[in-house]
Symmetry: C2
Subunit: 341 residues, 2 copies
DNA sequence: TCGTAGATTGGGAGCGCTCCCAGTATTAAT
DNA sequence: ATTAATACTGGGAGCGCTCCCAATCTACGA
């Protein structure tokens, strides 16, 4: 199982390098008999074309990068990202692409990773998880390098890039509407960071809904979180004095933190305070009180991003496209729906 | 910012391709002045050598693969793996390697991924997360292909491969000893799968400790889980009839499931049943009762794996090596230590 | 049977880099 | 100033593949 080359296979099959290349790449114009013979030799020898040589000659690496900027350094504290990664990996397998993962941990990493991501001969395209102000730089970088690019999440400047997202405003609105419908009077919210589009959009959905329902928007019922459990916990503590009877948290993990704070304050869920989260990741059903939440199709999200990217790579069409996926309100216990109707 | 080549830079700097190559690769034997000049041109033009060409010529890709076999399909249900991935990614950044992620979801994926992982010109080496019976095949594959390899976790047949692990037997023993020390009489355990080395080893630590302390080992106090929250939940339900007063769960996530089951059964934690988990991931402190657990250095684990691998790649020394990292018992509330002493 | 369009096939010319070797410049010692 | 080391530098020969084009076959109709 030494290092075989096309030429070796060609010799063994009694054909030329070119013919072997054709059968490997499934080109037409190879006689059936010849194709069989070559295929046989390839199978017998366990030959696989050298990836680097192929990339150099064809200018296609068949690998895409997934870039997780510094802004998602709480990356592995919110299970959302691993799930997204899984969806992307899955799609890569399906389309026979290799996935390169770039996790930006520190500022120094950033400098090392920037050039590597845009370097020729490594990646055919990249998916970047974005939506924070800080992400604009890397996006600009990639656009300048004419690297096929799809953004996961809506970036702040979205005019010239393709992205996949959900309708965060309306999804949040449906969560808050649900709470209004259940008769809660003092509905609070724990938002995502104000320097992120997700954070802003979900908050907008909250504000919009209250206004539409003729409610006033009370700042003491709004606290900013950072998509961590601890962030949710502290935000809830800030909300507590305002005595909310329901809280919409912009992520499940923050909802869990918030519920912890509520319980510690001696409050009963959902009787004293109801909660609705966002994401519907497995953790939503993991706590002793099942979380009502907005389900977003995370895996689909990843798959779509890959599909958009591959289309861009293979057709060369870089017209910005956007895909907005549907969400769904999943009613469980934490909103108190069962006992209120 | 078109596609520049060494030759282009050479021309602009008035030197030869070879000289540019030398400065790019930091070789000695380039006059200081010349080096400066070339560096300047490189900076001005934003040149980065083509990765594929470099790989083809040098037979080194500077990328390593992380392979997560099918056996870890609950991959993103146990936060352990994302953390491991993070450690690995971090080390890759540090050593200037690119990380390729291979997530085996389905059996079909496996067939697509096998050749890709061992194909020449793509990876310099691979880290495979292993420890299940099913993982032997891919390991054999990789060994046959003479691919530098490090296993994360102890594989079943560990004689001819390098791996990183913790001392699961003793770590588990220290958890159980702690429970014994606190005076619990009916200590149960929720093990990992019996077809995994981790599952087996941690159970062995449990059994060993009880025997050393002159306790009998009661099968009705042992239930097998699968490292998921649901698995822990069901395992606990099986344990309940045996009336354990303490339970050692082989992972935090299973401990959380188990505690949910206990609470549903009306039991108080830790007064009626105490719990010790394993991992000390962020979730350990996320529930309303803080989990006593065994801390394992997950990030370190990833870093070590990368270091072993890179050493193997760069020195060519494939003598199997093993690194066993230390663990630590972290005492919090769930074991009831505070109220029992 | 012959000619020809169309199907196959082979080989050359790179892709952009590294590595080796031979040549040239530089330095230090005489 | 001369010579022998020593320090640099340039260019050729690939790495293993794809792609193009020219050459060879094949099959079919006249």
């Amino acid at each position: 199982m030494a290092d075989l080359t096309l030429e070796d296979i060609a010799k063994q099959a009694g054909v030329s390098r070119s013919t072997v290349s054709r059968v490997v790449n499934n080109h037409p114009n190879v006689r059936g008999k010849v194709r069989q013979r070559v295929l046989q030799v390839i199978e017998d020898t366990g030959f696989h074309p050298n990836a680097a040589a192929r990339t150099l000659a064809s200018q296609r690496s068949w690998t895409i990068g997934l870039l997780l900027p510094h802004s998602v350094s709480f990356f592995f504290t919110d299970p959302y990202y691993p799930h997204l990664t899984k969806g992307i990996a899955q799609a890569c397998n399906q389309y026979n692409y290799t996935l390169a993962l770039f996790l930006v941990g520190t500022k120094e990493d950033e400098e090392k990773i920037f050039p590597r991501v845009s370097r020729k001969g490594l990646l055919d395209g990249v998916i970047v998880q974005a939506g924070h102000h800080g992400d604009q730089e890397i996006i600009g970088h990639l656009v300048d390098a004419a690297m096929p690019l799809v953004v996961a999440g809506r970036p702040f400047r979205s005019d010239n890039v393709s992205y996949v997202d959900i309708d965060n405003v309306n999804a949040a609105a449906s969560a808050v509407s649900h709470l209004v419908r259940l008769g809660y009077q003092r509905i609070g919210t724990i938002t995502g960071p104000a320097n992120s589009t997700v954070g802003l959009d979900r908050k907008e959905g909250y504000v919009k809904t209250l206004k539409e329902r003729g409610r006033s928007v009370d700042d003491s019922l709004i606290a900013e979180g950072d998509f961590t459990e601890a962030g949710g916990y502290y935000a809830m503590q800030k909300l507590l004095p305002a005595r909310p009877d329901a809280v919409f948290a912009a992520s499940d993990i923050m909802a869990i933190g918030a519920m912890r704070a509520a319980r510690e304050a001696g409050l009963n869920i959902p009787d004293d305070v109801a909660f609705v989260g966002f994401d519907d990741l497995p953790i939503a059903t993991l706590s002793n009180i099942q979380l009502t939440t907005i389900r977003q199709p995370v895996i689909q999200f990843g798959v779509k991003a890959v599909e958009l990217l591959i289309d861009q790579i293979e057709t060369g069409n870089t017209t910005p496209r956007r895909v907005i996926l549907d969400t769904e309100l999943v009613i469980r216990e934490s909103c108190g729906a069962s006992r209120r109707k």
